[in-house]
């Protein structure tokens, strides 16, 4: 007797909808068991993790602020992954966007400027991220170099570049030699939406991006091309789609979105450049993209959910004294369960007797 995977003849909508719910339920269950084993009240712990972050207006704003960069980056990554372009360097593209947008803010610091500054910074950030993403794209199309590795290596390069800039040429002269730039002026800061929260313009931008991407993927020829190149590359070539041009395009778009997220974080939430402006958004966004099934609206939902787990983890540290590592374990489990359940949507597991094998 052995287990085999059998492709289901057609994908049932019911299973598609159930699968993430089952995954979340399994994660919650395992989490509860883990909390109980650590001597905590499972209900309370679950409440702190999943319910507290969204239980009031302030919490919801914080979830939105945390989810925005994740969603922006994940939407771009989803486009890449759907077309079999494995961009793992979003973290570096995020940092390059912060560097490019931050450069504009620093260069114009103290100089009179106008309402053109902020759009210029956003554009600069997008271009910075796109530029860094262009490198693995070109290396892949011209030389066949594995884009997972090249994009990953560039993450380290971008980190060191930011470190050098912030400690050297861009260091705030009035900052006691500490590794940070000047604080951005108000004109160079992403405006808040409401007075008493941290919700800023970044979130509506992210929502617009999601809508545009959703329309692009579902209804345009380009979207069809992206999906076809990923699922059936030979058919795509017969249909006349140029996969090299597509690679460059999706990498540019993905890099631009990651760079945009970078400048929004730097100019909105932190308002200066420092070495540690990203707690791994680029890598977390990869998970968001997969959790969202490589679908823009899915990325939105997954980004919100993952943001809730991050904030829940902070709350758990504050109110339950649960260490940060427990949050990571839960996030890892969530990803495992979602991936497993999604696989079971496409495949069925069957026990087969040996004689049945041809």
């Amino acid at each position: 007797m052995r287990l085999v995977l059998e492709r289901r003849p057609h994908v049932s909508v019911r299973l598609l909808v159930l699968s993430p719910l089952v995954a979340v339920a399994l994660t919650v269950l395992c989490g509860a068991v883990m909390f109980a084993a650590m001597g905590l009240d499972p209900w309370q712990a679950l409440h702190v993790y999943f319910v507290m972050p969204v239980s009031d207006a302030w919490g919801l704003q914080e979830v939105a602020v945390k989810a925005t960069p994740l969603i922006l980056i994940a939407v771009g990554l989803a486009l890449c992954y759907q077309s079999n372009n494995w961009n793992i360097g979003a973290e570096g593209q995020f940092l390059m966007g912060a560097i490019a947008g931050g450069w504009i803010a620093i260069a114009t610091h103290g100089v009179p400027n106008g309402p053109w500054l902020l759009p210029a910074m956003l554009l600069g950030g997008a271009l910075g991220g796109a530029f860094l993403a262009l490198i693995p794209a070109v290396l892949k199309t011209r030389f066949g170099a594995n884009e997972i590795l090249t994009s990953l290596m560039l993450v380290y390069v971008a980190e060191y570049l930011l470190d050098w800039l912030v400690r050297g040429p861009w260091r705030d002269p009035g900052g006691f030699n500490m590794p940070q730039t000047v604080t951005f002026e108000p004109e160079a800061t992403i405006p808040l939406l409401f007075g008493d929260g941290r919700l800023n313009l970044g979130t509506p931008i992210a929502i617009v991006v999601v809508i545009v991407a959703a329309i692009l993927v579902a209804r345009t020829l380009k979207g069809f091309e992206i999906r076809l190149v990923g699922e059936a590359p030979r058919a795509a070539r017969f249909a006349g789609f140029n996969d090299r041009k597509l690679t460059i395009t999706v990498f540019l778009v993905s890099g631009a979105l990651a760079g945009l997220a970078g400048v929004i974080e730097a100019a909105g939430t932190i308002r200066q450049l420092q070495p540690a402006i990203s707690p791994g958004y680029g890598f977390t966004a990869i998970i968001v993209a997969f959790l969202g099934r490589l679908n823009p609206v899915g990325c939105l939902v997954a980004g919100v959910f993952l943001a809730i787990t991050f904030i829940g983890g902070e709350n758990a540290q504050i109110t339950l004294r649960l260490p940060l590592d427990v949050t990571r374990v839960i996030q890892g489990m969530l990803l495992f369960f979602v991936l497993a359940c999604d696989s079971l949507v496409a495949y069925r597991v069957r026990l087969v007797s040996r004689e049945a094998v041809a």
Binding site: V4, A145, N146, L152, Y160
Partner: protein
């Protein structure tokens, strides 16, 4: 001891964990599976290794514990990617996060606990040879093991039938399956081997290199190991070269500072990564049109009976 000898000694110790992890991942990737979870398996190895060593008082048991931990995580990865045909990139990343978190939980009790590191083995007579003697023949057991592993993996892949079959699974799993080879089982063994090596590399860090536990002590070495596998174009001896190059550049950068060489430290630190990209491109230019690495790398395989 001359300074050249001294530098060589430190380069070897810096490179060893990278080489151990890389050689394991190399086998995994040759069989057609991309496991990005090396960092997670390595740090679990480090945490488990020192936990077991402290609890039992035996370094050897610690090493075994580390290997077991690496293999356990690898088994989880195998269930996902082989059993459920889940995307390998996503599974690997999930493994990294999960492993990082779990290692913190396992190691929490042992932060700052001091332990004697595993000492060097001195091969008599040979180690008295001037210059190379100490470098080659007075090293800790992991260094010797890493060299043996590289040789063993080379021999296995190139001189045995089993190795040939494994490579076939990596190049074209459909044909291998058609020929009757159990592709999934072969990949499973490869994945477990990779996990054992990653766990071993982690044990090296927490039991020999800096014998204590702190959160995140692998500091990204798992990702460097992945780079080394590609840098080596999936060939074992080149992986050793890559590991020594990466280890060497880090050490040389530190020495350069000590001597007052006026290059920004960040540039020196970024050099290994830039170099990997350059080498990758150069390899592909030479190859002219063939793919880099096993053709079926990363593609999930679901045998249809």
């Amino acid at each position: 001891m001359t300074i050249a000898e001294a530098i060589l000694l430190t380069v070897i110790t810096a490179a060893t964990p990278l080489l151990l992890a890389a050689i394991g991942e190399l086998v995994v990737e040759r069989s057609g599976v991309l496991n990005l979870g090396v960092e997670g398996m390595m740090i679990m190895g480090a945490a488990t290794g020192i936990a077991v060593a402290i609890l039992t008082g035996s370094s050897a048991l610690g090493v075994l514990g580390a290997i077991a931990a690496g293999m356990a995580l690898a088994a989880l990865f195998a269930v996902m990617t082989l059993g459920l045909a889940v995307n390998q990139v996503a599974s690997g990343l999930a493994l990294t996060i999960f492993g990082l978190g779990l290692s913190g939980v396992v190691g929490a009790r042992f932060v700052g606990v001091q332990r004697e590191g595993i000492g060097k083995i001195d091969i008599p007579v040979l180690s008295d040879i001037p210059f190379l003697g100490r470098v080659l023949f007075e090293q800790d057991p992991f260094v010797y093991l890493s060299v043996l592993l590289v040789g063993g993996v080379w021999w296995f892949l190139n001189r045995t039938k089993a190795g040939l079959v494994l490579r076939a699974c990596g190049e074209n799993h459909t044909s291998a399956h058609a020929l009757g080879y159990p592709v999934l089982r072969i990949r499973l063994v490869a994945i477990l081997f990779g996990g054992a090596c990653a766990g071993l590399a982690g044990a090296y860090l927490s039991l020999v290199y800096t014998p204590f536990w702190t959160s995140g002590m692998t500091a990204g070495r798992g990702w460097i190991a992945l780079a080394i596998v590609v840098f080596a174009s999936w060939l074992p001896w080149r992986a050793a070269l890559g590991a020594y190059l990466f280890g060497g550049l880090t050490i040389l950068q530190l020495h350069a500072q000590g001597f007052g060489v006026p290059v920004p430290s960040q540039l020196l630190a970024a050099l290994p990564y830039l170099l990997t990209i350059v080498v990758l491109v150069l390899i592909m230019r030479v190859r002219q049109g063939s793919t880099a690495g096993p053709a079926s790398l990363g593609v999930p395989f679901v045998p249809d009976r």
